[in-house]
Structure formats: structure tokens, C-alpha cells
């Protein structure tokens, strides 16, 4: 990608590049690369028709929306009317959405063109992009390695230049983890900022839809488009429209307090930590004040998360009983999905409630309090996104080893705060992402820090 998202948008608006040409470019790239990368599992056959409509509007100088003509990939767990929302599972392989998710309505209203549905870990259960029933996704930034997950297809599509923006969803790192491994930008918004109506559930109290993009301003643009309260939904924050772009001019970071924790180094491979430390130095050079914060219980989030997510996932999947969508989930799903269902079924039993689920909720409260306290001392907390480098596709990992990828991203979801990822550097040619965690509704601060780092590169 030679130019930034906003520059491309401006070119379309000026008529130098038509929406149709932009869609054709995307389709060509997908045609050329997708066989190898496997980032898309379904394409929108109406994309060109929709692009023509955008071009007509632009030609007539009508309002065409803030995403006019950009191509958007969508995680296969988000409903797009007429396209299959399979969750990359055989359970829903024939489920064609009957309605648009709220975020899709918003994207369409702003002239975004849904180019197709991205591959993902089956039902978002995975951190590697390998558990899809449609086959694994490759990492365009480090071929032969996993792209991370579960929004694997979205991050890979951005990294390979298959489309302009992607909608992912993040329950315990599913946007940030693949963004880090693929070297792209991703944001997990504050819980309750973006409507979930139409997002197929993993863990309802943790799930949040967010953007994947080539650059910070692309991510900010898509986030602005989808964020804000919806009357069609219950559990949302009382936030009207938000705008970030005007505030992101890549200036210095004077007066910004950036928190770092010694805990990160304990949990992370030294080579990765080296890249992260370099990024922190850069932030200091840009004028930020670096402060140390305490996160003593950070690693306790992982077991608590997997208990909570399993119980919620068990509940959410009861509708896949084989009567309505053709297949009973337990009979056709992969082993990680089955493991989570069975775990959820087991620990939600009446006699175990106090022992597991309630305890997990207590840990969640503890982690939230800890992060909130840290974010009193600092405006954002920066650190590594993933503690390990992505493994080679096809390597067999034990479930615990696989879960260990999530140590650093899970606490953000447990606390309900926001977090973004931007490439900080490379280790042996493999991208390493810096995670920037912000307060509740602290997206602007997060994006500002990310943008400063991006502009300084």
C-alpha cells in the first residue's frame, strides 16, 4: 500500500480513482493472492454494483459518506445480509444472513463497500487462525507462520493489501493479536462503545467489534463510523457520535503520561521485549513522560478469562441445536470449539458455580480494579501485544501453550477498557506490535500515541 487510507479516500472523492476501480483492484489482488493466504472465504457479488452507485453519487457531487468507495472486509462472525456468516464453522456453513449487523448498516450508510467475508478461527475460538473449517490463513508479513487470531483473515487481508479496511472482533485479543503478528493496525474499542447487534457471540460480556487497517487514521476512520450508542441494543455506553480524525495530526506527545509495567518483561520473550523497549524510548523522545505502573495480578486474567468465555460461549451456542441451521454444533465443530463448549457446560453446573464461574468473576473484578488504578497514574499503558512470536503453520501446540498467546491482551477485555496495536518493529523479519491500552472511552489517547509513533517512523 503506497498511500494512506485518507489519501486514497481523497483520491476517490476527487475522481482520480473511481470506487469501481478500487473494487476491481481489490478483487484482482484477492484473485491473485487469496489462494495462498486464504484471508477471504466469501466474496460479495454485489460489490461492483455498489461501487457504481457510489461513483454515480460522487459524479453528481452528492454526499457519498466518509468511507465512500473504500473496500471493507468483514469477519465471518458479523452478519451481512445475503452473505454467509459461517463463523468459519461447518455448523453455519449454509447460514446466509437475513439481516445486517448494526455496524454493517453504519458502514453502508457511509459508502463503505463490503468486499467479502474474512476467514477466522472457528467461532473465534483460537489465537492462530488455524482452527477455521475453511483451512488456515497464512501470514503475508511472515509467510509460513500463523497470522494470529481469531480475526486472522482480516489482519492478513490488510497485510497483503487485499482491501482497505477490515472489521474484526476482539474477545480476548482477537483483533490485537493478529494485528501484531501481521504488522497492521488494530483497535479493540471500550466495551459498549460499538454495537454488537449482529455479531455472533463468543463471550458476550467481552466481545467488541473493531477496525483493522493499514494505518492509524484508517482505523480511526472506521472506528468513528461504527462507534456510538444504538437504540437497538441494551448493553451499550451512553455515547453519541465520536470523532477522532481531526485530533490525529501526528504531533508530539508532550504532557502524555505513558505507563509501563515490569510485569510485561516477566511474561514476554526477551527479543520481543527488546523491540518494545525501543518503541518506548521513541515515545519518550516524542515528549511523553514514562511512568511505571503496578500490574501484579495480570497473569491471573488468563485462567479467569477462559472460564468466563467458556460459560458464555456454551450459552451462546445452545441455539445451534441442529434444528434450525442444519447441524448440531457439537457434532460438526473442531476440537477447540468443542473443548470450550464442554468446559462451559461442566463449570456452569449448579454444584460448581461457586468454585469456578463466580471465582472467575471475582478475578475479573480484581484485574479491572488493578488496570483502573494504573490508568489513574498514566493516560495509556504500553507494552507487548503477544508474549511469543507466531509459530510455523501446522505446528501442534497444547491448548495451554496456545492460550499463552493471550496473556497480555485478555486483561483489556476483562477490564472493559480499550486497546490498540501498531507495529513497533521486527524480530527476524517477523512483525512485533506495540499494545497501547487506554481508559474507558480513552480511544483518542490511544490513537494519538499510536499515530505519533507511526508518524515518527
Amino acid at each position: 500500500m503506497d498511500r494512506g487510507t485518507l489519501e486514497k479516500l481523497a483520491a476517490i472523492r476527487r475522481g482520480e480513482l473511481s470506487a469501481v476501480e478500487n473494487v476491481q483492484m481489490a478483487l484482482e489482488q484477492i484473485e491473485k493472492q487469496n489462494r495462498k493466504i486464504n484471508a477471504f472465504i466469501e466474496l460479495n457479488s454485489r460489490a461492483l454494483v455498489e461501487a457504481e452507485a457510489i461513483d454515480r453519487r460522487l459524479k453528481r457531487k452528492e454526499q457519498a459518506g466518509k468511507l465512500a468507495g473504500l473496500t471493507i472486509g468483514v469477519k465471518s462472525s458479523i452478519n451481512v445480509e445475503g452473505l454467509r456468516a459461517t463463523c468459519a464453522s461447518r455448523t453455519l456453513e449454509n447460514y446466509i444472513s437475513t439481516y445486517d449487523a448494526e455496524v454493517i448498516k453504519r458502514v453502508r450508510a457511509e459508502g463503505g463497500i463490503i468486499i467479502g467475508m474474512n476467514n477466522m478461527d472457528e467461532f473465534a475460538c483460537g489465537s492462530s487462525g488455524e482452527t477455521s473449517a475453511f483451512g488456515p490463513t497464512d501470514n503475508p508479513a511472515a509467510p509460513g507462520r500463523i497470522p494470529g487470531g481469531s480475526s486472522s483473515g482480516g489482519a492478513a487481508a490488510i497485510a497483503a493489501g487485499l482491501c482497505d479496511l477490515c472489521l474484526g472482533a476482539d474477545t480476548g485479543g482477537s483483533i490485537r493479536n493478529p494485528a501484531s503478528h501481521c504488522g497492521v493496525v488494530g483497535v479493540k474499542p471500550t466495551y459498549g462503545l460499538v454495537p454488537r447487534q449482529g455479531l455472533i457471540d463468543l463471550g458476550m460480556s467481552l466481545d467488541q467489534i473493531g477496525p483493522l487497517a493499514h494505518d492509524v487514521r484508517g482505523a480511526a476512520l472506521l472506528l468513528e463510523t461504527i462507534a456510538g450508542k444504538s437504540s437497538n441494543e441494551c448493553v451499550m455506553l451512553d455515547v453519541e457520535k465520536v470523532s477522532y480524525l481531526e485530533e490525529l495530526n501526528g504531533g508530539g506527545l508532550k504532557g502524555v503520561r505513558i505507563g509501563v509495567s515490569p510485569k510485561f518483561a516477566e511474561l514476554t520473550e526477551p527479543k520481543i521485549m527488546g523491540v518494545i523497549d525501543g518503541a518506548v524510548e521513541k515515545l519518550r523522545d516524542l515528549g511523553a513522560e514514562i511512568v511505571e505502573v503496578e500490574l501484579p495480578n495480570l497473569e491471573r486474567g488468563l485462567p479467569a478469562y477462559y472460564l468466563i468465555v467458556s460459560v458464555e460461549f456454551f450459552s451462546a451456542t445452545r441455539k445451534f441445536d441442529g434444528r434450525k441451521y442444519g447441524k448440531r454444533i457439537e457434532e460438526v465443530c473442531g476440537e477447540e470449539v468443542l473443548r470450550r463448549i464442554l468446559r462451559g457446560q461442566y463449570i456452569s453446573r449448579k454444584e460448581y458455580r461457586g468454585k469456578y464461574y463466580q471465582r472467575a468473576l471475582q478475578v475479573r473484578t480484581l484485574i479491572r480494579q488493578e488496570l483502573m488504578a494504573a490508568l489513574q497514574k498514566a493516560d495509556v499503558i504500553v507494552g507487548p501485544t503477544v508474549p511469543k512470536l507466531p509459530h510455523k503453520l501446522g505446528t501442534k501446540l497444547t491448548p495451554m501453550k496456545m492460550y499463552a498467546y493471550d496473556y497480555l491482551t485478555i486483561p483489556t477485555n476483562l477490564a472493559g477498557i480499550c486497546g490498540g496495536v501498531i507495529k513497533a518493529g521486527e524480530v527476524n523479519g517477523i512483525p512485533v506490535g506495540l499494545q497501547v491500552q487506554g481508559k474507558v472511552l480513552g480511544e483518542l489517547e490511544v490513537l494519538r500515541v499510536m499515530r505519533a509513533l507511526e508518524a515518527a517512523a
Partner: protein, 455 residues
């Protein structure tokens, strides 16, 4: 042998919209699967809308009516109750923790009140599901095991049904709108739950059957195990439900997609202020205020609209006369014509003017009743209806002439009467009524006949 009976009553709330989406609730009036959307069919990715405010208020009102304390200023979680059945689109039913507790109705303690949603309707023969009903709000009322016989349970259910209908906040009992789970235990036996009883009569029969079944078993030295049974309406028996269902663990979790309810005091007070008076309270008030007998007051409060009409009429005419008329005449006419008080079209003033004619003896009570029948049928002034019915008041001279005529034409009857056969008087009175074309007051006729025949 001591019997303990407790009930869980589910009744649909009469809201226009479903509990968690905007679909209409008139599921019986439309073709299958037309009142549906992604939310009430549980399509993948759909999320509930905030709970229907009107349904919540209706449940508060009902809870207050049965004397419950509303749980205010605390979080009340909406929980997911998981079970696997074709009519349940998401594999769980949403049910609130108690919104109210500790009530009492006619000596039966009410344990708690919940808000729930109805599932769809499964037709096992056709293998089809209709989701029109899915998501219709329900109130669940759970009693303590305070009833000691099927008769007591029946009486309680009738009272409760009446009370619920009186509030106007629930759907009429027809069409499975009310469902009851019946819990019964005999001394020395386990508690048996009978599920899905669809009527008061069904509950009574299921209880009768269970008492016989359990008593027989205990008498023969057997054990009554704690279990869940199903009532088969067609055969009037209960049968064990599959073992799997009875051992079921619903794996309750708070629904992460809905903020818990918090009912603040102010909201409860608003509902309370607008709430209709409970029938038993209204009965007591009517007795005191209008000095009418309990029997009349009881009939008057049987329907809210009837009681409203009574109070409006009682402002204009003698409340005691009105009460007698409501109990004896109006109720009779309504029953005869199979009408409810809500169907009445005439105004309180029209009824009051009829009653004042009776009071002034302008018309006889019998004539008044004829007029009342017409008033129910067609909307018109009692005066006009009197004319239409030909009930022009009889002149004294006309009555005297008719009495004389009847005596003259029926010498045999006169002879019989004078010989001591009292029933001959009725025969003669009938002749007089015929001659006056029913316009005479029967009491006057008898009086005059007796007087004339004495001579």
C-alpha cells in the same frame, strides 16, 4: 393425611410488544411465523432490546396487587435458563430473579414474582414451530405451599385469575395464556411437581389425581419420590416426565446482553398511584361507603367495568336500590346474553334514569328489567324504549276494569278461590296481565284481586 400444595402461575402480560423486541404480541390472530424478527427467533448474532417497560410496570402492578414488596434499588438480574426444546429459539429462556416478594392473597402466602418470556409453539405431530408467541412477556407468581386441598387450590386460582383479569394487565385466560405448575406433597412423601397445567379445572383434576396416586402408593408402603410429572389433559392423569428432564440443571447465568433491572422507589410509586384498586379492597370500600350488603358488593366487583359503572350510577340514584339491581337484574341480563360488563354501551346516566323510574314507581321492576334488556341491545333512552315496548303506565281505572273483566269471565276460578284454592288467584292474575298486555304491576293485581274477591 396432611397435604401441602404450592403453585407457580404463569400468565401472559397484555402488552402490545414483545419483551425484548418490537414484534406485536397478537400471536393467535396472524399466520404462523409472521410476528417475528431476528431477535425473537434467536438468529445468530441477534441481541435483545432493553426490556419492555410496560411489561415491567405491569408486573410491578400485579405484584403490588397481591400484596408483595417490590425489590427496589437493587440489581435484579435477567437470567438465562438453559434447556433444549424445539420451541426455544436460543436454547435458553430469559427469566428475571424475583422483582417482588412476600405477598399474600386470601390466606396464601406469595413467595415471589418473576418476569419471563414465552417460548414459541411446537407442534410435535407436524414437527413445526411457530415463533409468533416467542418473546411474549409473562409474569410468574410463586406461592408458598399453603393450600391443603385441591378445592383450596382451585379457589385460590380462581381468585388469582379474577384478580389478574381485573387489573387489565394480562391476556384473558383463553388460549393457554395462563399456565400453572402444581407442587404437591403428602405427609411422608416427596414433593411432586406437575408441569404445564393449562386451566383452573386442569389444576384441580391433576391435584385430585395426584392425591389418589400418592396416597395409594404410601398406603401400600411404597415411596413417593421427588419428581416432575406432566398432566395429560385428555386422559386427566399425570405421567412421569423423562428422567433426563427431571434431573435437568438449567445452568442459570445472568444474561450478559441485558443490563440488570433496577426498580427505583419513584417508579414503583408512579405505578402504585395509577394502579387500579384490587377487587377485595374495592368490595370492602363499597360496603362501607354505600352501605350495601356483601353479596351485592361481591357481584359488583366481579368485573372492573361493572364496579366502575356501579359507582357512577350510585352518584345519581339510591345506591342500595342500584346495588340490588346490579346483583339481581343487570348481572342476570348480562349472563343471559353472554356479555361482559366491558361490552355495555349505555351510559351510567341512562341506567340511573331507569332506576329512578323504578324508584318513583313509574315502571314496575319487571318492566324495568324488560327495558334493561333492550338497553343492552340497543343504545337508546329508557323513556323511548318504554314507548317502543308499549309499556305506557296503566291508569287505575284500566286496572280496575281488567280485574273486573277477569272475575266476570272466569266464574269457575272465582268459585275455586272462594272455596279455599289459593292457586286460583294466580290464574286470575295471569288473565289480568293478559288483558293489560303485561303493563300492570303483578303486586297491584294480586292486591286488587284479593280485595275484590273478598266481597
Amino acid at each position: 393425611m396432611k397435604v401441602k400444595i404450592g403453585l407457580e402461575v404463569h400468565q401472559q402480560l397484555a402488552t402490545e410488544r414483545k419483551m425484548y423486541c418490537n414484534c406485536p404480541t397478537n400471536y393467535q390472530d396472524v399466520p404462523p411465523n409472521t410476528n417475528v424478527c431476528p431477535i425473537c427467533t434467536g438468529m445468530p448474532g441477534s441481541k435483545p432490546l432493553p426490556p419492555n417497560e410496560r411489561a415491567v410496570n405491569a408486573a410491578i402492578e400485579i405484584a403490588l396487587m397481591i400484596g408483595c414488596k417490590i425489590i427496589t434499588d437493587q440489581t435484579v438480574y435477567i437470567q438465562r435458563k438453559h434447556y433444549d426444546y424445539p420451541d426455544l429459539p436460543s436454547g435458553y429462556q430469559r427469566t428475571s430473579l424475583p422483582i417482588a416478594k412476600d405477598g399474600k392473597l386470601y390466606g396464601v402466602r406469595i413467595r415471589e414474582v418473576h418476569l419471563e418470556e414465552d417460548p414459541g409453539q411446537y407442534d410435535p405431530t407436524a414437527g413445526t414451530v411457530d415463533y409468533n408467541r416467542s418473546g411474549v412477556p409473562l409474569v410468574e407468581i410463586v406461592t408458598e405451599p399453603d393450600m391443603k386441598s385441591p378445592e383450596e387450590a382451585r379457589k385460590f386460582l380462581r381468585t388469582l385469575t379474577h384478580l389478574l383479569e381485573y387489573t387489565g394487565k394480562v391476556r384473558p385466560e383463553a388460549g393457554g395464556a395462563m399456565r400453572t405448575d402444581v407442587n404437591i406433597s403428602l405427609e411422608g412423601g416427596g414433593r411432586v411437581e406437575v408441569k404445564n397445567v393449562n386451566s383452573v379445572k386442569g389444576a384441580y383434576r391433576a391435584l385430585k389425581y395426584e392425591i389418589i396416586r400418592q396416597r395409594e402408593r404410601l398406603r401400600r408402603g411404597g415411596v413417593v419420590v421427588r419428581e416432575t410429572r406432566a398432566y395429560l389433559e385428555s386422559q386427566m392423569v399425570t405421567v412421569p416426565m423423562r428422567a433426563k428432564e427431571t434431573e435437568e440443571d438449567y445452568r442459570y447465568i445472568p444474561d450478559p446482553d441485558i443490563f440488570p433491572l433496577v426498580l427505583d422507589r419513584a417508579r414503583v410509586e408512579t405505578v402504585e398511584a395509577k394502579m387500579v384498586e384490587a377487587p377485595h379492597l374495592r368490595e370492602a370500600r363499597l360496603i362501607k361507603k354505600y352501605r350495601i350488603p356483601k353479596a351485592s358488593a361481591n357481584v359488583i366487583v366481579s368485573e372492573r367495568e361493572l364496579a366502575d359503572l356501579y359507582e357512577a350510577v350510585a352518584r345519581e340514584v339510591d345506591p342500595k336500590l342500584a346495588a340490588t339491581w346490579f346483583r339481581t337484574k343487570l348481572k342476570k341480563v348480562l349472563n343471559y346474553m353472554k356479555l361482559r360488563a366491558a361490552d355495555i354501551k349505555f351510559t351510567p346516566t341512562q341506567l340511573a334514569s331507569l332506576l329512578s323510574m323504578v324508584k318513583r314507581k313509574r315502571v314496575t321492576p319487571e318492566q324495568g328489567e324488560l327495558v334493561l334488556r333492550e338497553m343492552v341491545k340497543e343504545l337508546a333512552d329508557p323513556e323511548k324504549l318504554l314507548l317502543k315496548l308499549g309499556l305506557i303506565p296503566l291508569k287505575k281505572s284500566e286496572l280496575r276494569a281488567a280485574v273486573a273483566g277477569a272475575i266476570k269471565e272466569n266464574p269457575n276460578a272465582v268459585k275455586d278461590y272462594r272455596a279455599g284454592r289459593k292457586e286460583a288467584l294466580n290464574f286470575l292474575a295471569g288473565k289480568v296481565m293478559k288483558l293489560t298486555r303485561g303493563r300492570a304491576d303483578p303486586r297491584e293485581v294480586s292486591k286488587l284481586l284479593r280485595l275484590k274477591l273478598k266481597k
